[in-house]
Symmetry: C3
Subunit: 345 residues, 3 copies
Amino acid sequence: MEKTLAQLAEHISGKVKGDPNIKVNSVATLENATATDISFLSNPKYTNALQTTKAGAVIIGKDTGAPVPLLICEDPYYAFSQIVVLLHGYRQHKNIGVSPKSNIAKTAKIGNGCIISDFATICDGAEIGDNVVIYSGAFVGDNVKIGDNCILYPNAVIHDGCRLGNNVIINANATIGKDGYGYATHKGKHYKIPQVGVVVIEDDVEIGSNCCIQRGAIEDTIIGEGCKFGDLINIGHGTKIGAHCLLVGQVGIAGSTTIGHHCVIAAQVGIVGHIKIGNLVKIAAQAGVINDVPDGQNIAGTPAINALNAKRAYSIIEDLPEIKKVIRRIKKQNGKSDTEKNGHE
Amino acid sequence: MEKTLAQLAEHISGKVKGDPNIKVNSVATLENATATDISFLSNPKYTNALQTTKAGAVIIGKDTGAPVPLLICEDPYYAFSQIVVLLHGYRQHKNIGVSPKSNIAKTAKIGNGCIISDFATICDGAEIGDNVVIYSGAFVGDNVKIGDNCILYPNAVIHDGCRLGNNVIINANATIGKDGYGYATHKGKHYKIPQVGVVVIEDDVEIGSNCCIQRGAIEDTIIGEGCKFGDLINIGHGTKIGAHCLLVGQVGIAGSTTIGHHCVIAAQVGIVGHIKIGNLVKIAAQAGVINDVPDGQNIAGTPAINALNAKRAYSIIEDLPEIKKVIRRIKKQNGKSDTEKNGHE
Amino acid sequence: MEKTLAQLAEHISGKVKGDPNIKVNSVATLENATATDISFLSNPKYTNALQTTKAGAVIIGKDTGAPVPLLICEDPYYAFSQIVVLLHGYRQHKNIGVSPKSNIAKTAKIGNGCIISDFATICDGAEIGDNVVIYSGAFVGDNVKIGDNCILYPNAVIHDGCRLGNNVIINANATIGKDGYGYATHKGKHYKIPQVGVVVIEDDVEIGSNCCIQRGAIEDTIIGEGCKFGDLINIGHGTKIGAHCLLVGQVGIAGSTTIGHHCVIAAQVGIVGHIKIGNLVKIAAQAGVINDVPDGQNIAGTPAINALNAKRAYSIIEDLPEIKKVIRRIKKQNGKSDTEKNGHE
């Protein structure tokens, strides 16, 4: 789709600096853009690229006098996202309706406008809302409830009884609602405990590929409205995550932990079970969190501490050999002086 | 299912304190239980909740004088697990027999009472025991042997030649027996080495969702009897894990490592290849294990050391900036005193 | 397949020490080999096993005078790999042609000699080269291009538009080209940004099971020729990995990072986005890389530093309690001496 800068400016409530009739049809990076591309600058690290970019225009927060047409707006990254939607759109799903080669239980209810591919399975008592897209190999267990406008990508698995809100995306090969990791150990053997809870995923959540979210042992595992998950994430049974959290790839959260709203949990973080993380908490990549965290904290490290302190402290690990050398010398001197003292006694 | 406390007490060989005719039909947490729920206390952290719980009864190790009917028994968590089985049962699998829409090779042998869903694949020479449940999209490769009472959840993949004992559960999207990570590097290129071994999974093992267990390069990869795996775990080729180990989510163990029995390996632990971990070893979350570990050790940290020492030591990382400051001051003083000494010489 | 040592020597351009007519038909470890097995020694750690092995012959770099027939050659591990291929071969795929129970779009193009199993899906506009094997449950999205001799194992998912070169192996349950983790946050909500790029996988790459490689936000994600991936790896959107890199299991690399050629990235490493890793870089297991890395560096730790320094430094963490004790004593003495000084003033 081709648009003039004037049209784009109107779309994002921004203003044009330069020729409003310039036409673009695609997005690109500052570095690789050509005259029919629009680019953006939100990370100051790339400001220099403004001088040399060949983009048709650049979305930006304020006029920096760069030699390129600008689309000036308050929140350039958000504006950029709106323009990507406008120019490129989201993935289209071929409207094949409900394939006769899918396996849909007679007692399942399917809403209007759904697309259900070959080799998808919908089990007894499942209820699927309107305009849901279910790709091939996806599995929807007994009595699962799925809201409107959801997408289940190929081979995603939703186990029995789990509930998804509206506009939920479950990416390929993700597993929702497998049994929680619950065993009672008795005389050296581990006995499986039926997991009575389910997984509840609220509206507007996206779950990455190959994630695994366990159903609750007793109470439900809950993923709050608007949360966005990266890939290969593991959520333990009964854990409750508040609204609008960002969890990046390979995060692991053990069971029965509670996480507030608008938290940002970076890649490969591990969080133990049975703790409480507040709202608006930011956790740096690879951190290990073992204690409750109050609202608004930024933490890092294992065990996790204040992020700024962690940054300073972990950078000093490199100096430990030198520190140890000095400590050893001191101990030797003290040892000598102790001996001298002892000798004097 | 509804049961009286007297019936439950008999079932778990415990005794009732309070009205033995109270009826419960479900389990719940102390906090959220209602009069028809039974709860339990095994973690002393939650003892206070006994005073306020509205549960119909609580399973407990000893009478603490709490104002709630009690079911007193030796091992309350194990008793609780037995009661969850009694009241709620394990997941039921719809008895559809062998679906004509599955793909079963003519040379495969299927035992009695098996459930094989649409879109499941059983390849040549595979042998499946009795009462095995194979969900849709699951793949059983050539010559795989599966014992009795196993469950393969949707899209689980068992590659050719692998062997599963009885009562094995493979959760959704798990991969058993893909080729080990084996390449010979020659003049800058990596040449794939055929992986001659398979994966052997002994009786009563549960493998979590989205796990990946590699087949052996030369010798088999072995998961010992009664092991319970969390999700997203990676086991390298030729690694052998003893009986009744617990591996929590996102653990990674490289190839040719040997692990004893009854080990507990917490989440996100990494263990290098070609080492030997003893029996009854406990490894704390996120630890990195690079050396052999004797029987009975509790370890933590990267590289892993004694867990108590690690706990103490890692909590001091936070103090490194202060330690460095003091060291710097000392070096400066010593420098001065060295200079003074030099001046005197 | 049975071969004489003479035949094997010719095959690998090595020479026999001992009886060239000895026949072997299988490979085994030094420890467990029998008279019809050939074994190898490349790790000096196992040199002692040469004295006691019952192998029919051993592939080795130079004659050590061991009491066993030897196959002497320059690169024993590579020679071993050639012999495994000769004696055992790679996995055979049953030639079923294109199954009528697969789901192949009319506009898809399938090359000669392909094997496409039941329940595999090939979408509109996809182009598959010659001799490609696609296992059951695998999904090939719209307009995907796949070269010759590729293998897609069961339930592997290749999203729309992605491109695979020749001889590419995608293991079971891996996901290629799901949307990048891209959201614009505006007034507390996260808005999904269409991901315009795809994933390009060059020739001779193997991707492990349950890996997830994100498609690019704007520019493509690229996995260079000859790279070999372990399992459960996560690659962020727009990241570019050079040729012949080895990535071991559970590695995570965030978006827009560039990695050179011939790097070795060990298990559970995390690498942040928007950085540049040079060529021939080695990164130790569990490291956290947050800055650019020049060519040829060996790094380890979090944040990653020179690997030798890291090895030394991290081993001293254990001494931190003792170091802190000494520092505390010094501060106390200094405090006293400061007081004394102050007293003197």
